[in-house]
């Protein structure tokens, strides 16, 4: 029993990596908006995450790189508890939720998870738009039924963000009539309409036809430059290089290297990062 208690106990102190420093758009003196501490995940016998921590200040964009199976998506999905971590703590905008591996906590924790999710908008690899709802209905569904917002107000906000992603004229269209790139841009507008503190992107361009990747990355870069707080799991090196304040390289469930893109991408120190990036270069050269 005491052993179990020890296991689910998380360190009270959040370790900030020496390379984690507030980015250029962060207001001086601002506190981190997201702190994930010692995130650990076991899938059965499989140790997917080995105590990874991350610190993000408001206004920052950080990218998480790593080969498939490294645990980067699982880590991102732990931020809003789509994956329930085995150990660790997530704090977003002052809401703290710890791991609950033995399912001892009840509905109060579920409510806090909902609070976290309302503060962390997510964009999925497969878009996951609601096919039975029009574009505008996709956007206002959660503000109305989660926040209790008036429809008019929600629609005004949604229209603002649809305009931002360049799809206001598709407001009454159904998702089935949109291209992949348009769907993903609607998904971004849908996340934004909840007015979250942080945006989580889970390989947002990986399911797209190569010709449609650019329009989505453009929207994401615009958001990054206007000071949205974003965590982006991606294979798009150019995007990471151009838009990220910091890049994290994940290997076997832990961050092998953290730093500004010029360092991690252009001059990696860790042999694992070097090996990963050299593969990218080879592929890139063949293109």
């Amino acid at each position: 029993m005491s052993d179990m208690k020890h296991l689910s106990k998380t360190p009270a102190i959040h370790p900030v990596h020496p390379a984690e420093k507030p980015g250029i758009l962060v207001k001086p003196g601002a506190e981190p908006v997201l702190k994930a501490t010692n995130i650990t995940k076991w899938f059965g016998e499989n140790h997917v995450l080995r105590g990874a921590s991350i610190t993000v200040w408001p206004g920052e964009t950080v990218c998480i790189l790593g080969r498939s199976g490294s645990g980067k998506s699982t880590f991102l999905r732990s931020m809003n508890f789509l994956e329930d971590p085995t150990d660790g703590t997530v704090e977003i905008d002052g809401v703290i939720v710890g791991a609950d591996p033995f399912h001892k906590e009840g509905s109060e924790r579920q409510e806090r998870i909902r609070e976290v999710r309302m503060r962390a908008g997510m964009v999925f690899q497969e878009f996951n738009l609601f096919p039975h709802l029009s574009v505008i209905e996709n956007c206002v569904e959660a503000p109305i039924h989660v926040k209790g917002m008036a429809r008019k107000e929600a629609e005004a906000i949604a229209e603002k963000y649809l305009a931002k992603v360049g799809l206001l004229e598709k407001r009454d269209e159904y998702p089935s009539r949109l291209s992949g790139g348009q769907r993903q841009r609607v998904a971004i507008a849908r996340a934004l309409t909840m007015q979250p503190k942080v945006l989580l992107f889970d390989e947002p361009t990986s399911a797209l036809d190569p010709t449609l990747v650019g329009e989505v990355l453009k929207v994401m870069a615009d958001l990054a430059h206007e000071g949205r707080t974003m965590i982006v799991v991606t294979h798009e090196m150019d995007f990471a290089h151009e838009a990220a304040d910091r890049v994290y390289y994940m290997d076997k469930g832990e961050f092998a290297e953290v730093g500004p893109p010029e360092q991690v991408i252009d001059a990696p120190k860790d042999p694992r990062t070097k090996e990963f990036l050299s593969r990218f270069r080879t592929l890139g050269a063949k293109k």
Binding site: L82, R117, M122, F124, N128, A142, V146, R171, D172, Y174
Partner: protein, 275 residues
């Protein structure tokens, strides 16, 4: 050599192809109807020549048998409503993480699919009175048909709910919806569209299975045909009349079902068109 080169020639070719396609299609439909009519005519001819059909007898008993159609339709409608309600709870139970709900639903499905419908019907009518529960034949029929079909439809509803991709629920809860809201607003409406045609199918099947209620003295179509036929030693005629009534009912409700489905599909298209 004869390749059409000008736009005009291409237009002519296109319209000639279209005309030819239409002609072939209408010829096919004509042959289809002709063969169907011949089959029906042969059956009627066979009945008319080899069997002793008395027009007077038919005109006498046909209204009596037809009068059972109301009960047949009423039993079927009420049963499908009951079955739909049971199937909704059954499917939720089968997908529930609660061991209790899951066990109850699984047991229900297993038992009612694992025993004959006729036995279940007789159980309501003959066995329940032994423990002091005496029910009208109509109630027995609706209860037995509804519970039996509910068990089958539970599995259909469950499959419909599972056909909605997991990413839909994930996207909903990631926006802060509770599991309940995500189910009600996102998953259930999508599952419903998958399930509706199956409910229509089951209703048409139910129209015919309701004939089993004749075994518990419900005076629906088959009961009437059987009784009047036995009495007059003319079961051949009365059963053929009953068959015709069921057949016509099935054709009518299948047509209704097709229209509803077309309306649903059209609704989707219209919705998609707007904007």
């Amino acid at each position: 050599m004869n390749m059409p080169s000008t736009n005009h020639q291409q237009d002519q070719l296109a319209s000639a192809v279209a005309v030819n396609d239409r002609r072939r299609e209408s010829a096919w439909r004509l042959r289809f109807r002709l063969v169907s009519a011949v089959i029906l005519a042969l059956i009627l001819l066979f009945i008319g020549t080899y069997l002793n059909v008395e027009a007077s007898f038919i005109t006498k008993v046909a209204p009596f048998i037809l009068a059972g159609a109301g009960l047949t339709i009423a039993v079927s409608l009420l049963s499908i409503v009951l079955a739909t309600i049971l199937a909704t709870f059954g499917a939720l139970g089968r997908l529930s993480r609660s061991a209790t709900a899951n066990a109850v639903a699984s047991f229900y499905v297993s038992f009612f699919r694992g025993t004959p419908l006729l036995l279940q019907l007789l159980f309501w009518y003959l066995a329940l009175p032994q423990v002091g529960i005496v029910l009208e034949p109509f109630v027995c029929a609706v209860g037995a048909l509804g519970m039996n079909y509910g068990a089958y439809m539970t599995e259909i509803f469950r499959a419909g709910l599972q056909a909605v991709p997991g990413g839909q629920r994930e996207a909903a809860v990631a926006l802060g919806m509770s599991e309940r809201t995500a189910f009600r607003r996102i998953v259930a409406p999508q599952a419903f569209r998958i399930i509706v045609p199956a409910i229509g199918n089951d209703f048409v099947a139910m129209l015919k299975d309701s004939a089993l209620a004749s075994a518990v003295t419900l005076q629906e179509i088959l009961w009437r045909a059987q009784n009047v036929g036995r009495k007059e030693f003319k079961s051949l005629q009365t059963l053929l009349i009953a068959a015709a009534v069921y057949w016509v009912l099935t054709i009518l409700f299948t047509a209704v079902q097709n229209r509803v489905e077309a309306r649903l599909a059209a609704g989707d298209r219209n919705k998609e068109m707007k904007g």
